[in-house]
Symmetry: C2
Subunit: 370 residues, 2 copies
């Protein structure tokens, strides 16, 4: 699980202050860029990634070999056009793909593990802003993100209002709901119940908490898909048997149904690329996220000083961060007088729609970044 | 976890044939009754329990001391009136409260554990019908059930059409959806990932797979509640600290939010009264449930021979078995010409509404049983 990354890295020149009151020394941010930075440094777009995402936005993931997670959106001539824009994507603080997180070495030469401080979405954004400082980018053409990436985009608008001229937040929310927290708590308990977790000190052990992390991913994965999408994709169809014969109920506990097999595959694949402690820390940051609370309990206040233009996008089949959550942000932006456009797109894929083939999203993204 | 039950038990006089093709010898069914059986044996109502329910319908649970799970519905003068009806509730085959299940001793004197055969909802119903035979009850006044209890009620109507004059199925479905299966699979994987599960052979061990079972219960519990119910009950409210001071974010991994604390409590409480292997077997039975598939792929066929009257009830906030699933059953009953009434009730509690204070449900139940 050592970060096998060819990314560029930026060691922060100063200690990073955190919402907890602590400060973190020696932070490194790993990032990828696509497209040329204009001489006047005005054409940069920062794309923020989701919970289990990374900086490999439009280039192959070095561990899985899979294409970048938003290749369909980012590239020459694509909606986020790298012929025009300099696109930056950085691994968030607390993650495990080259930026400082619980698997990183602390000053004593040992992994932080659970000594890593609990961070927030705003702390992640502080790391991103420090990177922008390092890259001498005073104002982004846009900050863009889906899901947790959208939380970062909104947090940047609220806390660093001059750093982005445009804010595009997709399939996201300004606060985690009780149900959102509940699902994350199930995942954390699954990880921490795994004896191989060892209180977080598994880095020097022979085994890692793959079983717990896999269960966490399986539970979360269900929330990323719509009920109707699952029905369409899998229904109650049975898995073909290993010998190639058509599926039949085994009257056992093998993966009889295709949906079981799919979930197991999602769970185990995830454990090969993600650190369990990072999963704990990042889900915690998301659960703590409540942009109104940070700003005197009123979401409108969060955006009061913002000169940016906003665009919010939700999906009608997203039950993790449903349209009502985006509307809530839009109403707050209206109240604070910010220019905002909002669209609910119809797509069958649930929360994951922002990553998948939804041509209407391409048009919205392209149009907003003009 | 030895069944500490004061229930009556009925040892089946014959081997129980199962859908798997196997047969189970020496099956015992544990049950409770409330109210007097009429001389002509015509006033019996069978109430079927849900996944983690039991026969303690209207009497205290012997392990937890808590009131029966449907005390609000069953008793003298209540909607299921024990002054008029003889009410029977039996622990289902595969469970762990006195009826034969994986924790029971096999012929070799050792617990079945995973040697227990995989059973189906129809197999559970076969066990219930065998009990009715033993009690010399040829036709029930009604069979009643919510959730998995409703599946049993529908299965009895389909497979033993003369055994119940009335069929009341609440908050249920005629088939498990891909999403239903997915959530159950997460729970099973959580249990089987727990090293204390020991391939199911934990009965003689010092520890049991409580961590895995607890995670399974937490994940399932979220599906029993509505998003808005969770928000109303917990929102993002923080837990008071142990010293009594008002809650604050701990910037750690304790249960900061009330919803986290609640879920942990639900998970750990459950492990004190339920057997992990029973959870595996019963969830499997539910996932296998597809009443149409059993009847040539057409749900109408399932009810073609039924002389019973039906009543279906759904709740508008139930996203586990949403109203569409009940409607699907109603359409099939209409197609087969069976008399059926259907109502979607408005209640904020999600799937669990059938167990909670919904006066409209009381009226429907009382009216249908007249």
């Amino acid at each position: 699980m050592a970060p096998q990354t060819a990314s560029q890295t930026y060691p922060l020149p100063a200690s990073l202050p955190l919402d907890s009151g602590e400060a973190l020394d020696g932070v490194t941010i790993a990032y990828e860029t696509y497209g040329e930075l204009a001489a006047d440094r005005s054409n940069a777009i920062l794309v923020c990634h989701a919970l289990t995402g990374d900086q490999y936005l439009a280039s192959p993931h070095p561990m899985t070999g899979k294409p970048g997670w938003w290749e369909r959106m980012v590239g020459p001539g694509k909606p986020i056009d790298t012929d025009r824009f300099h696109v930056i994507c950085a691994n968030v603080l607390g993650s495990c793909m080259g930026s400082t997180g619980p698997a990183s070495l602390a000053a004593d030469g040992k992994p932080y593990a659970m000594r890593f401080p609990v961070i927030t979405i705003r702390d992640m954004v502080r790391g991103l802003v420090a990177l922008l400082d390092g890259l001498e980018i005073r104002q982004l053409h846009a900050v863009v993100g889906g899901s947790m990436g959208g939380m970062q985009a909104l947090s940047m608008a609220a806390n660093f209002p001059t750093r982005a001229a445009r804010v595009l937040a997709i399939a996201t929310t300004a606060r985690h709901s009780a149900q959102n927290i509940a699902f994350h708590e199930v995942g954390r308990q699954a990880i921490m119940a795994d004896p191989a977790w060892h209180g977080g000190d598994y880095y020097a052990q022979e085994t890692r908490p793959v079983a717990g992390l896999s269960v966490a991913r399986m539970a979360a994965h269900i929330t990323y898909l719509s009920e109707s999408g699952l029905t369409e994709k899998f229904g109650r169809r049975l898995q073909d048997r290993p010998d190639g014969t058509a599926g039949a109920k085994s009257f056992g506990f093998d993966a009889d149904f295709q949906v079981e097999s799919y979930l197991r595959y999602q769970g185990s694949g995830f454990t090969r690329r993600f650190d369990a402690n990072s999963y704990l820390y990042i889900t915690r940051a998301m659960d703590y996220f409540d942009l109104a609370e940070e700003h005197g309990g009123k979401l409108g206040n969060a955006f009061a000083g913002s000169p940016a233009r906003f665009c919010l996008v939700s999906f009608d089949s997203d039950w993790l961060y449903p349209t009502a959550e985006s509307r809530h942000v839009v109403h707050a932006l209206n109240a604070s007088g910010a220019p905002v456009s909002f669209v609910e797109l119809s797509a069958p894929f649930g929360h994951d729609s922002f990553l998948l083939d939804v041509p209407a999203l391409d048009r919205v993204v392209k149009g907003f970044l003009e």
